[in-house]
Amino acid sequence: MMRRLFEPATVEEQAPAGKVVTYALLALWSLVVLVPLYWVLITSFKGPGEVDNGPFYIPFVDFTPSLEAWDFMLLQNYTLGPYLNSVVVALASTLLAVLIGSLAAYALVRIRFQAKLAGVAVFLILLVAVIIAVATFGVQWEVAVAVAGALFLISLLTFVGRTRLALGNSDVEFWIISNRIMPPIVAVLPIYVMFQQLRLLDTQVALIATYTAVNLPIVVWLTRDFFAGIPLDLEESAEIDGASKFRVFFTIALPLVRSGLVATFLLVLILAWNEYLLALFLSNAKAQTMPVLVSAQNTTRGPQWWNMSVLIVVMIAPVVVIASVLQKHIARGLLVGAVKG
């Protein structure tokens, strides 16, 4: 009898005891996830009175819901601007990051790179030299770059080729992921100064460029395994059939990793959509995004929970919609039938 509790009836099933534990944990976790969402939703229909005198949880019973906060945020305040900024920045940067990142990942999987260590060193030294020459000695930058470029070429043609030490694909991959090791706050100030110099502060372009760069390593690391999983035969066959490398990438490799790519796209989109720190520094009025606007509701009069909740609800909504639409594409078994009998 006890055994019956701990052993499954068939191989596809869980044991009864296991089932109970699984569903209990799932229920608990659902509660953890759903309660804050519920709280946000009802708070958006409250006013200062209901929040301060609360806690009230059940609309129409505990308190009378009102559309005051919705009216204030969506009609009286200019929320549409930041909303559009968020949409443009998140979509554009995600598309760019996934495109560039998957190209990079594919190249890293299929092409063998051997960058000579000496060449990399020469490049870095010349780069530093150019910066010093331009910044402290006032050399014209065109001249500095031309001279450095010439020196670099000469070094490539003379001694670099004869050195032995070289960086391989795994080094490149590690370098890419190392970009994410450093906390973003460290890089925020230099990035700020850079865009200030370029006069691009508070523009969508600055945010798109930054988000693309920041999310690239994630895309590369997620997609490289998808590409590595494609049987090489398929791509070689396409090459013999007459396809160029780019053709192979776009007509064979990309469609085959579609589900993985969709998952990656979704993840990066959410990261970009919710990004706060960089947006806080790089935008203030024109290019302000939603997360910044949400935190701005924490005013001198204290946090305006009801207004904040409205913003959070409208922020969550599109992500939920996109996620449920894309979920269908995250199908498995796309490679079935490619090889073997």
Partner: protein, 358 residues
């Protein structure tokens, strides 16, 4: 189109995989590259396709030197062992892919796809995906995709090895017929000697990256160039006896018999095919032996005979009945005996035979 490989070498790092391959495949010829696993057949084929660079040597397709030409400019079509169908495309899209890349207009493309599909009896499956097909059907899609654009050369890497025995036999005859109809030069890689013998105009036998013999299937079977070829071709394999040659007689551990070859030398291997031997009474045999075991194979019986330390298999009639350890004699014709130098593996030919062939 004619394909010429001259002095092809290929190394992966320090490992030499192909060593000095010289091959000329005539226009319209069906050449089979045959050899044991790991001998470099696939590597050789991939070099012709351009998927692998050569370490040294030259490859010509027709008059054109393609040694350093990308695969897509070589105008070859390849059928992979794994078929390599594009899983996200229907059968029709798979077959049309090479044409699409060549910007063939849609109407013409559709006609060509239908034609190719009809050749391999796939008309009803054009709208299916590869995952909805059986192994044999997938294999036919791969074939259709290869022939749809009439390449200069077909390359096939063990295309039948994933099929069951019956289907393999069927596809073998289909393939032979298709190749004859299309008249496209074909290089076909396999380690299955039956495939090689049945399909090929000529067979090139490879071992350890070196071609051992290039000849018609009949010649390979009847006149093997060396010990390796003799042992590789034939099922059950040729019997080998180690011994020495003196005064026209081959002597080994427990016996001796006359051979039509003069000369005195040690370290000689004599080879006799099981089907060239017959079992007779002990007094009539050229070798006397004992029955070690007998196996009924259906249409014939394999009798393994023991001669001292050596064993010799005889292909006998299906009705043959012998008791274990029964003393018997084995007889064979002079011409059925092949002699080889045990060390180099080279064939030792009789003067008369060499003269006759010259």
């Amino acid at each position: 189109m004619r394909v010429t490989l001259s002095q092809i070498h290929k190394s992966f790092g320090a490992v030499q995989v192909v060593k000095g391959l010289d091959l000329t495949i005539q226009d319209g010829e069906f050449l089979v590259l045959l050899g044991p696993s790991g001998c470099g057949k696939t590597t050789a084929l991939r070099m012709v396709a351009g998927l692998e660079s050569v370490t040294s040597g030259r490859i010509l397709i027709g008059e054109r030197d393609v040694t350093n030409v990308l695969p897509k400019y070589r105008d070859v079509a390849m059928v992979f062992q794994s078929y390599a169908l594009y899983p996200h495309m229907t059968v029709a899209e798979n077959i049309a892919y090479p044409l699409k890349l060549r910007k063939v207009p849609p109407a013409e493309r559709d006609a060509a796809v239908r034609g190719a599909a009809a050749k391999v009896h796939l008309e009803e499956f054009l709208d299916r995906y590869p995952r909805q097909l059986s192994g044999g059907q997938r294999q036919r899609v791969a074939l259709a995709r290869a022939m749809v654009r009439r390449p200069s050369v077909f390359l096939m890497d063990e295309p039948l090895s994933n099929l069951d025995a019956k289907l393999r036999g069927h596809m073998r005859s289909e393939l032979k017929r298709l190749q004859a109809e299309l008249g496209v030069t074909t290089i076909y890689v396999t380690h299955d000697q039956v495939e090689a013998m049945t399909l090929a105009h000529r067979v090139a036998i490879m071992n350890k990256g070196v071609v051992q013999q290039i000849a018609t299937p009949r010649e390979i079977y009847e006149d093997p160039a060396n010990l390796f070829v003799a042992g590789f071709i034939g099922s059950p394999p040729m019997n080998f006896l180690q011994g020495s040659l003196s005064g026209g007689t081959f002597a080994f551990g427990e016996g001796r018999f006359a051979v039509g070859v003069e000369g005195d030398r040690r370290n000689v291997t004599a080879g006799i095919r099981p089907e060239d031997c017959t079992v007779t009474s002990p007094s009539n045999g050229r070798i006397s032996a004992r029955v070690y075991s007998i196996e009924l194979m259906g249409d014939h019986t394999l009798v393994t005979c023991q001669i001292g330390q050596e064993y010799l298999t005889v292909k006998a009639d299906k009705l043959a009945q012998y008791a274990m350890d029964e003393p018997i004699g084995i007889t064979f014709k002079d011409a059925a005996v092949f002699l080889f130098d045990s060390e180099s593996g080279e064939r030792i030919r009789s003067r008369a035979r060499v003269d006759a062939m010259a």
